[in-house]
C-alpha cells in the first residue's frame, strides 16, 4: 500500500500568496454611534480589512482583540463590554461579507440601544475606515502529495498562510480553508482536514498556525492520524 505521505493527489496544491495595499476610506468614527453608521455604509472591502486582515497585520501577536472594531471599542472608547461582544463575532461562521456585516451591526445596534450614554461619547482617537486591495501572487511551491505539502508549508511566507487559511473563507465563500479542502478532496484525508479546520486563528500567531498544521500533517505522515484514512 502506498504510504499516506506519498499518495498522489488528484490535483496538486498550488501555494499562492497575497500582497495588500491599504486604501483610506471616507468613513470616520469618533463615537460608538458613528462607528455603527460607518459599519452600515462602508464598503465590503472595509469590513474584510478590519475583521480578516488584522490577523495578518499583527500576525506575530496574540494579545489584544482580533478585529479592529473590538480593539477600537476597548482602546479608544473604553467600552470593554462592547469590545468583548464584537470580538466574539467569529468570522468562521460566515461565508460572505453581508452576513458578517449584519452580525456586527446587530451587536453594535444592541449596545447603542442598551447603553445610550455610551453612544455619543467622544473616543480618545477616531476610527479610520480602510480597505485592503489584495493581489494574488504565485509562489514556486506546489504539492503533489502530503510530504511535498509539508515541506512547502515550511517554506512559504506567513502571507501565504493567511491567504489560504484565513481569507479564503470569505473570498471563496468556504466554510473551511484551502488546505482542508485540498486534503479532503485531493487526498481523501478527511480527518486531517477537520483537525486543521479546528485550529484557532484567534489565539495563535500565523507562525503558530503553521506549526499546528505541520504537527497535524506530521502525525498523519507517521500514521498516528492519517492511517485510518489510507
Amino acid at each position: 500500500m502506498i504510504p499516506v505521505g506519498q499518495r498522489a493527489a488528484r490535483k496538486p496544491f498550488q501555494f499562492r500568496s497575497a500582497a495588500h495595499l491599504l486604501r483610506i476610506e471616507p468613513q470616520r468614527a469618533t463615537t460608538v454611534a458613528e462607528l455603527l453608521e460607518g459599519l452600515r455604509s462602508c464598503s465590503d472591502a472595509s469590513i474584510f480589512e478590519h475583521t480578516f486582515q488584522t490577523l495578518r497585520e499583527h500576525h506575530f501577536i496574540t494579545e489584544g482583540f482580533s478585529n479592529d472594531f473590538a480593539q477600537w471599542a476597548l482602546a479608544a472608547c473604553n467600552e470593554a463590554r462592547l469590545a468583548e461582544h464584537l470580538a466574539a463575532v467569529d468570522i468562521r461562521e460566515f461565508t460572505e461579507i453581508a452576513g458578517l456585516r449584519q452580525r456586527l451591526v446587530s451587536v453594535m445596534d444592541e449596545y447603542v440601544r442598551t447603553h445610550p450614554e455610551a453612544a455619543g461619547r467622544t473616543a480618545f482617537e477616531p476610527f479610520y475606515f480602510a480597505a485592503s486591495e489584495l493581489f494574488v501572487v504565485p509562489t514556486p511551491y506546489q504539492a503533489h502529495n502530503l510530504e511535498e505539502f509539508a515541506s512547502s508549508l515550511e517554506k512559504v511566507s506567513v502571507a501565504s498562510i493567511h491567504y489560504h487559511f484565513v481569507d479564503a473563507r470569505l473570498r471563496l465563500k468556504l466554510d473551511s480553508n484551502n488546505f482542508s479542502v485540498w486534503l479532503e478532496e485531493a487526498l481523501d484525508l478527511g480527518d486531517l482536514a477537520q483537525q486543521i479546520k479546528r485550529i484557532d486563528i484567534y489565539t495563535l500567531t500565523l507562525e503558530g498556525v503553521r506549526q499546528r498544521i505541520l504537527e497535524a500533517v506530521q502525525k498523519a505522515l507517521n500514521g498516528a492520524s492519517g492511517s485510518k484514512e489510507a
Binding site: L21, P26, I61
Partner: protein, 434 residues
Amino acid sequence: MNRKNNPGATVAPPSESARPARRAVRPQPRLDDYAAVVGPAEIDELRYLAQQLRGRTVKMVNSTAVGGGVAEILNRLVPLMNELEIATKWEVITGGEDFFAVTKAFHNALHGSPYELTQEASDVFLSYNEQNRQSMQFGEDLVVIHDPQPAGLVLSKPEGKAKWIWRCHIDLSHPHPGVWGLLRPLVEQYDAAIFSSPSFSRSQMGIPQYLFFPAIDPLAEKNKKLDDKKVQEVCDRFGIDRKRPILTQISRFDRLKDPVGVIRAYKMAKHYADCQLVLAGGGATDDPEGAQVLAEVKEAAAGDPDVIILDLPPWSHVEINALQRASTIVIQKSLREGFGLTVSEALWKGKPVIAGAVGGIPVQVIHKLTGMLVHSVEGCAYQIRYLLTHPDFARQLGRNGREHVRANFLITSNLKRYMLLYLILLKISSPLVS
C-alpha cells in the same frame, strides 16, 4: 572622556574637519541582500510584481537631494526600482531662498501652526513651480511628487495614460485653511494621494487616498547589525556605562521632541532605579532655535553626571546605531510628530520603546504590544520604572516591535506598496477585493 568631573556632560559637535575621510564608495545593497532580513518568499513576491511593470517608466520628484527622511527613502527606493527594471528617475526641483522660506512656512502651517497667507507668498510658491515646470519633461508612465513644495508640477500632467501620484509625508489632519485652500485644487488633479497615517489624510478629497508607511533601510549604516565591540567603543567614547540601564532619546534638539520633559521623567524614575539618560541629536549649530533648546537641555541636566548630551553631526549613523543598540529603553517623547521613523529604528533593534502618542507614533507603537505610549512626563517616568523592573516584558515588547517593523516599515514593504499602486493606476492588474 571622564564625566565624573563634568556633570551634565555635553559632547560638542566635531568641526567639519573632524568629519571622517570619505571611505571608498561601497556598493549599495541589492534586492537579494534583503532576503536575509525579510525572507526569500518576500523577494520572490517583489520580483513577480515587478515583472508586471517591466518597461514602465517612473519619475520621482521632491525638493531636496540630501537630508531628511524623503531623500533617505528615495536614495534606496529608486535604485531598487531600477534593479527591478522599472526605469525610475529622481529629480529635484530648484528654488531660491524666498521659495524655501515660503514652503517652510507652508509646512509649519499645514501642521497647524498659526500663519497669515499673503498674496506674495502664494505668488512665490506658484511662480517657482511654474519655473520648474518649464525646465522639466514629463513623459513617464507614472509621476510621483513628494510633499507640497513641488505640488504645482501637476499642471504639466498630460492628457492620456500617465498617472500622477501625490505623496504627502506630513500631517494634514489640521491644515491651515488658507494654505490648504491653495494646495487642494492642485492635489485634486492627481490620480491618487498617499499618506503616512490615516489620521493625516483628508476625508473630503475627490481622489483615492492610500496608506503607505515610511520605511527604514535595515541594511543602512544606521540600522544594520553592529558587533558588540563597536557598540562598546561608541559607549566608551561618550562615557556611557553599559553596566547600568541606559535610557536614550535620539532626536533634534527641538521643543516638540520635549527633551526637557525626558530629563524630568528620567529624574522622577531615578528615585527608584539607577539609570543613565542619553540625549543624542543634532541640528543645533545651524538652527537658532535648536541652539536655544540645547542650552535649555544643558541647564535642565546640569549637575547630573548621568545625563549625557550628545550634539552629533549629521553623518553619525554608526554612532546612532550603536547608541540605540546599547540602550535598555529608547524614548521618543514627542509632543508633535510627523511619522517618527526613529521609533521604527529603535523597534528594529528589538528595543522596548516609550513614546508620545502623537502623529504617526501610535501606528508603530501599539500600547503594551510593541511598546508603551505615554501622554505626560509622569506617564513616561512610570513606564521607565515599569520596564526597568519587568525586563521580560520589556524584551517581549522589543521582539514584537521588531516583527512589527519587519512586516510594515522596511524599505521592501515600501517598494511593494509603490508597485501595487502602479498596478492599480495603470490598470495592469486589478485587486481581488476592492
